[in-house]
């Protein structure tokens, strides 16, 4: 079945794409939504521009749709991007990395229902620690690209998801109720390498901005 992967460049959407390919689904294109609104309900990824490089190393066409990120308008923009994928690549399904957000998942279900295509959410309700462990097991190289919750600070930026990271976020979950996979927007991630990439991405430029418990890592990769 031909599918489009709703792609942010982070661990969840990339891993869900990996699961789709592993289960013999074809990813015909990626769809990335570039939001101007950093507080967007649906799309809020610091390194969204870098999805172009990730698409290149996956050798999968990328559909980019810009949105001002206003609550309902961004959903219309998403629907237009998916409709474009249906027309251009004859996709029959959308794959998302939704884990627990009913707000996000139900809106994508409604869009797919209107466009008469399937909607796959292979990470739905998945245990967060299990997900992080699977990333390591499947050789995903993932870095932290943004932190947005106490007690996370700039020292976490650029850290790789490894066993030590899992131990530390598990502690933070117990102490501060930090979601260990960042599903509550506590942190954002960026994938530098995984089995879907034909070559590893290297950071060639980086800049850190932010204050207190809200920090972003801007990188350029090649």
């Amino acid at each position: 079945m031909k599918c489009a992967l709703l792609f942010s460049g982070g661990k969840d959407s990339t891993y869900t794409g990996y699961l789709a390919v592993k289960n013999k689904y074809e990813i015909s294109c990626l769809i990335s939504i570039f939001s101007e609104n950093k507080e967007s309900y649906m799309f809020h990824t610091p390194l969204i521009e870098q999805t172009k490089k990730q698409a290149e190393v996956m050798k999968i066409p990328l559909i980019i749709k810009k949105t001002r990120g206003e609550k309902e308008q961004e959903l219309l923009d998403l629907e237009r991007a998916i409709a474009d994928a249906v027309k251009r690549y004859k996709i029959e399904a959308i794959i998302t990395g939704a884990i627990g957000s009913v707000y996000q998942a139900s809106r994508i279900h409604m869009i797919c229902d209107r466009l008469k295509i399937e909607c796959f959410n292979p990470l739905w309700q998945k245990d967060q620690i299990e997900l992080l462990e699977e990333l390591i097991k499947n050789k995903f190289e993932v870095i932290i690209s943004g932190v947005f919750a106490y007690p996370l600070d700039e020292k976490w930026l650029g850290r790789k998801i490894d066993k030590k990271f899992i131990e530390e976020v598990s502690e933070l979950q117990k102490k501060y109720k930090i979601n260990p996979a960042g599903e509550g927007g506590e942190f954002e991630t960026f994938v530098l390498n995984c089995p879907l990439f034909k070559k590893e991405l290297k950071i060639i430029n980086k800049k850190i901005t932010g204050e207190k418990n809200s920090w972003r890592l801007e990188v350029e990769v090649e």
């Binding site: 079945m1 699961l19 789709a20 289960n23 013999k24 689904y25 794959i95 009913v102 139900s106 279900h109 409604m110 797919c112 229902d113 008469k116 295509i117 399937e118 909607c119 796959f120 959410n121 292979p122 990470l123 739905w124 309700q125 998945k126 245990d127």
Partner: protein, 182 residues
């Protein structure tokens, strides 16, 4: 052992509609086995203490074309919980319950007037369906409604159906059914 029956046409949907239920059972040290309805054998039913028929996606109605593969339910006496598509199956195998169209996606408030596997009063439930079952009321009691039947119970057998997805919200319902706590 709890038998989880997978009704998904697409393999990738198993991760979305079956695995979350597996995880609930696993976390509570309850033994289970997952079988797709097209591969179900008599021994699977014989070995099961309780049976859960899981749901599937909005577009997937393939199971409705294969209703004959669910006729075993008519003679089964083991507790069965049908979720969403599973509820449609339970309602349809008895004297032709009617499948009707109704789209509900997202959170809805449902009033549980009688306690149902630990759920009572007004509760937020997660819905994801394009169709529902209106069962034959000679066989089934409707325990909760919200624009259409949300919870049904067979009048003489231990068969139950919920249209919403308790594996997303109200996980304790699955656990109480699996443990046999009414």
């Amino acid at each position: 052992m709890i038998l989880l029956i997978n009704i998904c046409k697409e393999q990738l949907h198993e991760l979305e509609f079956v695995k979350p239920i597996q995880d609930i059972l696993l976390k509570n040290n309850l033994k289970f086995k997952v079988v797709h309805y097209k591969e179900l054998k008599k021994i699977d039913i014989d070995n099961a203490k309780r049976i859960i028929i899981c749901g599937t996606s909005l577009k997937d109605n393939d199971f409705l074309k294969n209703m004959r593969l669910f006729f075993w339910i008519r003679t089964c006496n083991k507790p069965i919980l049908g979720i969403c598509g599973g509820m449609q199956i339970i309602g349809k195998v008895f004297r032709n319950g009617r499948i009707e169209k109704k789209k509900q996606i997202g959170f809805y408030l449902v009033d549980f007037k009688k306690e149902f596997f630990g759920i009572k009063g007004k509760r937020e439930v997660y819905e994801l369906h394009n169709r529902y079952i209106f069962p034959n009321i000679r066989d089934f009691e409707i325990l909760a409604e919200r624009q259409c039947p949300q919870v049904i119970k067979h009048k003489t057998k231990p068969f139950y159906g919920v249209l919403f997805h308790p594996e997303v919200r109200n996980k304790e319902l699955i656990l109480n059914f699996a443990k046999g706590n009414k």
